[in-house]
């Protein structure tokens, strides 16, 4: 029996998120003090050693990212907490921020200390005004307590663009420009906000830092999957009994997540599919449910853990219809900068609608596959690269459902 585990959400419900005193009483901000004693290089080495990888979706080694920014000697550097949680079905950052905001702030401060940044931003999703308010209060409290030293932190609100969750688009947005992704390289740790070295980390990633410094890299590295150690906060949606946010070690399987933490399929129905990682995630069938949820195991199954969203569909769901809705989402959210994504998401949606309405032929399936393969490889940013994945994986695992809707000549 798999068990849930609290690292990020350790004190969830036990401390009042709006009372910094309770966070400090529970040992909060000791890790920041410890970091200052250890020095920048030691902190970065410790985090590298822990094997912590980014929890936003790309899975990059957090300590390594820090070392890039650290290595550039310049007075102006930034840390940014990416709280632009726009991936449909994902709500774990909201839960983390609402229950342990000071832990995230401490994580940001540790990260800032490690690379030598004096200024940080929390880029909060515009649809989370409550979270933004709470964060502002938490920052005021932290400043009043003096725990942040000379580090300044500011909350910025997004304005509803999905693609701004992409780190370079987020940086553009903070700088006051159109939220469009930049081409890379150069990567933000070297050339980021206002062209200065900038670390952008997900809320969950940052919330792991105080724990790693408190209990040590070895402790952390021993938890969960070897190549993706620690825990992952998952958000469960769809046809499961428990639509909850849960933190588990990274070596649990998809089946365990659905059956044990999610309580199985609601209403006694049969499982049909699960989409992991949000709207851009892959559709997986029953046969792949014994895959572990860590980054590499899922990648081997040609899926991605992404943000850790699990959208479960029971036997009554129409996969083609679901994929059509997702295609609509990407059409709406493409920023329009690069050709494959701007035109591709638009044409994908039109073809999917045609299929869904029963007006399409196998020619259309060929077309959308052809389009998807190019979008995946030629788009400028992760948005365009991932947009065809639900379509392509649904076609791979659930082709029968598509076939049923095609015009038979």
């Amino acid at each position: 029996m798999a068990e849930k585990m609290g690292i990020v959400l350790r004190n969830q419900g036990r401390i009042d998120p709006l009372k910094i005193e309770e966070y400090i009483a529970a040992g909060g901000y000791k890790s920041l003090d410890k970091a200052r004693e250890m020095g920048q290089i030691a902190v970065i080495e410790e985090i590298k050693k822990s094997g912590l990888r980014g929890r936003g979706g790309a899975g990059f080694n957090t300590g390594l990212k820090m070392s890039y920014s650290y290595s550039i000697k310049t007075a102006e550097k930034y840390v940014i907490c990416n709280a632009d949680e726009g991936e449909p079905g994902t709500y774990k950052d909201r839960v983390i921020l609402e229950s342990v905001p000071q832990k995230v702030i401490e994580g940001i401060a540790i990260s800032a200390f490690a690379i030598g940044a004096k200024k940080g931003y929390i880029y909060c999703r515009g649809e989370y005004p409550r979270v933004a308010g709470l964060l502002n209060q938490a920052i005021v409290q932290a400043k009043e307590k003096g725990v942040l030293g000379d580090f300044d932190l500011e909350v910025r609100l997004g304005a509803g663009a999905y693609v701004v969750g992409e780190e370079s688009a987020l940086i553009e947005s903070i700088a006051g420009r159109r939220g469009e992704p930049r081409f890379k390289p150069p990567f933000p740790p070297l050339v980021g906000l206002y062209s200065a070295p900038t670390i952008v980390n997900n809320v969950e990633t940052l919330a792991n830092l105080p724990e790693i410094l408190e209990f040590g890299a070895n402790w952390f590295a021993g938890i969960g999957a070897k190549s993706y150690p620690g825990t992952k906060v998952l958000s469960l949606t769809g046809d499961v009994v428990n639509r909850i946010c849960i933190e588990v070690p990274t070596d649990v399987t998809i089946r365990e997540v659905i059956d044990e933490f999610g309580g199985g399929i609601a209403g006694g129905k049969r499982f049909k599919a699960v989409q992991i990682g949000g709207a851009s995630g892959a559709f997986l069938p029953e046969a792949l449910l014994d895959t572990a949820i860590d980054f590499d195991s899922l990648r081997n199954a040609r899926a991605a853990l992404g943000s850790g969203a699990f959208f479960v569909m029971d036997e009554s769901r129409d996969i083609v219809d679901v994929v059509t809705q997702i295609a609509k989402f990407f059409e709406h959210e493409s920023c329009g900068k690069c050709n494959p994504c701007r035109e591709g998401t638009f044409r994908s949606r039109r073809i999917m609608s045609k299929i869904n309405q029963g007006l399409a032929s196998t020619e259309d399936i060929k077309k959308i596959r052809r389009l998807g393969h190019v979008m995946k490889r030629a788009s400028l940013c992760g948005c365009g690269q991932a947009a065809p994945i639900p379509i392509l994986t649904a076609l791979e695992h659930f082709y029968r459902e598509f076939a049923l809707k095609l015009i038979t000549s």
């Binding site: 663009a161 693609v163 159109r178 930049r182 081409f183 390289p185 059409e331 709406h332 959210e333 493409s334 920023c335 329009g336 900068k337 690069c338 050709n339 494959p340 701007r342 035109e343 591709g344 998401t345 638009f346 044409r347 039109r350 073809i351 045609k354 077309k367 052809r370 389009l371 393969h373 190019v374 490889r377 030629a378 788009s379 400028l380 690269q385």
Partner: protein, 798 residues
């Protein structure tokens, strides 16, 4: 160096080279839409993707640096497939109107579809959002149905012109290029320079002036080779007669000297284009302003003068050249005989070519025997520039236009609405300020476009320039910001000069000028502390009351801070007209021969007498103002006015009209029957710039060619031909076969131009002084503070 393999070739390229650059260096062609060498990389069209071994994604070659060990394929199956899909996606939004499209044959979308065999789009199931063509501006046409969203236009607006008039609105498939609030361009900061049209890779943006099926871009440079091939494959087919061509020449609207390309079809100018090759378009690299790009239709105007006109019974009637020239020759000879040579004056133009300006003064001095030659548009400019001659030894811009964009760290602009008067210089200043972080100080009673961008705007009361500059120099000395080493080693007259500054405290100056003390201090510091400070000044309000003091003042400021003789520094009077500099260089002034050689200097006079074979007058002639006054008194009897319209343009037009009415004989030479021409006894029809050969000298002393594109209308002739005919009729034969022959004669007499020849001017032109055939020309003067006159002269200006 980085070693990588592209298409099986092992290549070595410098660190930091992109894959695209590496390919182009090695002759591998990569298709691109959004990439433009003069604009920031966008990486958005994805046409340039290539495959790299071991990388899961295709790499956009325009924005991916070459790395050691990369193994790249640029035309592999998957790469070609990606490009085909991208082309099909673009075709699904680009409505094919090729039949009537100006870009047909010169359209990248068309070229690449051809290259990859994309005949139609398999994704075109309709539904693409299209927007009506509703912008009623007179210049730029934007057809959204052809737009491929490469955003080059937006970047050109931001990075070349720095007008920032257009941007991107909405997102995804609804994203479109727009002016603020989705309003018309006319209500945006657009200056209609048309740089957006220049960079558009398809036909989405086009010129309204040259459009309307007058001639497609592709027709204009059809090569002989292509027609030969055509003949080879279809020997029995009758070839269409291609009479299209394009001619590079120099714009005539202001002193910047932009190169523009005239597109010609059947002996008519049908459009203006940019040549973006720096080797052929050295000043502007293709960038133009609204006047240059869209203001050429006057060439084809039906109101052009096509025949000489003679006044008879109060009205002008057409006449033959013979009749008109005979009349002019006889009357001028009569008046000279009866009233002496000084009863004649030549009021020349700063718009005619160097060769014509040279002949105008040669005619005046050699044939009429007087030094009464001056130019209308020179009012103000030569006086200010004379200040430079007094202080430094040469009366011209000390530095080049390009330095204002690349080298100057602080630019002090005085009394010049640069973005209006010299738009392309304005663009370069803006670019330096916005994109390179140069500081900008503007002193102008107007709130000009540049003033809005300035670190400090000194909005002085008109006529208080002296106090303002002296106040700034007071601050510089008080704060120890003067460059004493430069002053000691390179200048003279400092001790006397500095004493006069004591009274100009910022408080006193603030009272006189109306500029706050803090601003005077800030401006002084910004300029004096800059690594390279450049002064640009226009005529502004100073025309009337400051004269050469204006130039001296600013020279004092530059010498005080050592801002002279290095790139990005200097004192730069911006010449108003296209050949203001050249007209003065050519001796179109009452006191000097070509090359500023004084008419009162007997050695100089002997040199010219020997060359021209005629005795020359030794006294300075009348300036323009003196000539008008003398005419008013009835002492001046005959005047030739070249290409100018003083009854409209002069400061006191009624005075001019009265003066012209008192003349015995007035000849006006012009392209149109101007208001002034109505007063003439004889009107001679002149060719415009597109109809003749020659050279102009722009404000930065760069001598450039103008080239004949079409024949003049009717019987109109180039000004130089008219002067030659007239001179010959008056017994002083001038028989030049070409303008080049005139230039050759001029350069042997003019040391500054001695090393300049037509062949040497091909391409980038040359900066004078250029004393010998081996000399490369002089971009900036007074190198390292070694002034032409020896030491820089501080002068007292109160």
């Amino acid at each position: 160096m980085v070693a990588l393999t592209i298409n099986g070739l092992e290549l070595h390229v410098p660190e930091g080279t992109t894959i695209l650059e590496a390919c182009r260096m090695n002759g591998i062609d990569i298709p691109t839409f959004c990439h433009d060498e003069d604009l920031k990389i966008n990486g958005s069209c994805r046409m340039c993707v290539v495959a790299c071994q071991g990388r899961p994604l295709l790499l956009a070659s325009c924005c991916t640096p070459a790395e050691n060990g990369m193994v790249i394929e640029t035309e592999s199956d998957e790469v070609v497939e990606a490009r085909r899909v991208i082309l099909e996606l673009l075709l699904s939004r680009h409505i094919l109107k090729c039949n009537t499209c100006d870009a047909n044959g010169k359209c990248r979308l068309q070229d690449y579809c051809y290259r990859y065999g994309v005949a139609e789009s398999s994704f075109n199931d309709g539904g693409a959002p299209h927007y009506p063509i509703s912008d009623a501006n007179p210049y730029i046409n934007r057809d959204y149905e052809k737009c491929i969203m490469c955003t080059r236009c937006v970047r050109a607006c931001e990075e070349i012109t720095v007008a920032r008039a257009i941007g991107i609105k909405d997102r995804g498939n609804h994203a479109k290029i727009f002016a603020a609030f989705d309003d018309n361009l006319e209500s945006s900061p657009c200056v209609f320079c048309g740089q957006c049209v220049m960079v558009c890779p398809v036909g989405a943006l086009s010129s309204k002036v040259s459009a309307a099926y007058k001639g497609k871009l592709s027709d204009l440079d059809i090569s002989i080779l292509a027609t030969d091939c055509f003949q080879l494959f279809f020997p029995f087919q009758k070839l269409p007669r291609y009479t299209y061509q394009s001619v590079l020449t120099t714009c005539t609207y202001c002193g910047v000297g932009c190169t523009l390309q005239l597109n010609i079809k059947n002996n008519r100018v049908v459009g203006v284009d940019s040549n973006r090759d720096e080797n052929w378009s050295p000043v502007n690299k293709g960038a133009l302003c609204v006047k240059g790009r869209f203001g050429w239709d006057f060439i084809n105007s039906p109101n052009r003068l096509t025949t000489p006109l003679i006044k008879e019974g109060g009205a002008l009637r057409p006449a033959s050249w013979d009749e008109a020239l005979e009349l002019v020759a006889n009357r001028l000879a009569q008046i000279k005989e009866r009233h002496g040579p000084d009863a004649f004056a030549m009021l020349s133009s700063t718009r005619i070519s160097n060769e014509e300006a040279y002949l105008a003064q040669k005619f005046t001095r050699g044939v009429m025997g007087t030094n009464n030659i001056d130019q209308f548009s020179l009012l103000g400019h030569p006086l200010a520039a004379d200040g430079l001659e007094a202080a430094f030894g040469i009366s011209a811009m000390t530095n080049t236009i390009a330095e204002l964009e690349n080298d100057a760290k602080c630019i002090f602009v005085m009394n010049s609405d640069t973005t209006e008067e010299h738009p392309v210089i304005g663009m370069k200043i803006k670019k330096n300020v916005v994109h390179n972080g140069a500081r900008l100080v503007v002193a102008d009673p107007h709130r000009t476009d540049l003033a809005k961008l300035a670190d400090v705007h000194l909005q002085h009361k008109p006529g208080t320039e002296t106090a303002l500059i002296n106040g700034m120099m007071h601050v510089i000395i008080q704060e120890g910001l003067a460059d004493s080493q430069f002053i000691d080693t390179c200048t003279e007259g400092y001790a006397v000069f500095i004493e006069t500054l004591a009274v100009y405290t910022p408080e006193v100056v603030a009272k006189i000028t109306g500029v706050p003390v803090a601003d005077i201090v800030t401006a002084a510091r910004l300029y004096a502390q800059a690594e390279a400070g450049s002064i640009c000044f226009g005529r502004g309000f100073a025309t009337g009351n400051l004269g050469d003091d204006y130039g001296r003042l600013l020279c004092n400021l530059a010498m005080l801070t050592g801002n002279i003789g290095r790139p990005g520094t200097g004192v730069n009077p911006l010449a108003k007209e296209n050949n203001t500099q050249g007209a003065a260089d050519m001796g179109g002034v009452p006191n000097s021969y070509p090359g500023y050689q004084a008419v009162t200097d007997s050695d100089m006079r002997r040199k010219f007498e020997k060359s021209w074979g005629v005795e020359l007058p030794a006294e300075n002639g009348l300036t323009l103002t003196e000539a008008i006054n003398k005419a008013h008194l009835g002492d001046l009897k005959a005047v030739i006015i070249f290409g100018e319209n003083p009854t409209i343009g002069d400061l006191d037009r009624h005075h001019v009209i009265e003066a012209l009415n008192k003349l015995d004989f007035l000849v006006v030479q012009n392209t149109f029957l101007s208001e002034t021409a109505q007063f003439a006894d004889v009107v001679l029809p002149a060719a415009c710039f597109a109809e003749k050969e020659g050279t102009f000298t722009n404000t930065e002393r760069r001598v450039q060619r103008i080239r004949k594109a079409i024949d003049p209308p009717g019987q109109a002739k180039a000004d130089w031909q008219i002067i030659c005919s007239l001179s010959s009729r008056m017994g002083f034969p001038m028989s030049y076969a070409s303008t080049e022959e005139i230039f050759e004669e001029m350069r042997t007499l003019t040391p500054y131009y001695a090393g300049i020849t037509y062949p040497r001017l091909e391409g980038k032109g040359l900066f004078w002084p250029c004393p010998s055939m081996e000399h490369p020309g002089t971009p900036y003067l007074h190198r390292d503070g070694k002034f032409s006159r020896g030491l820089g002269q501080f002068s007292v200006v109160r």
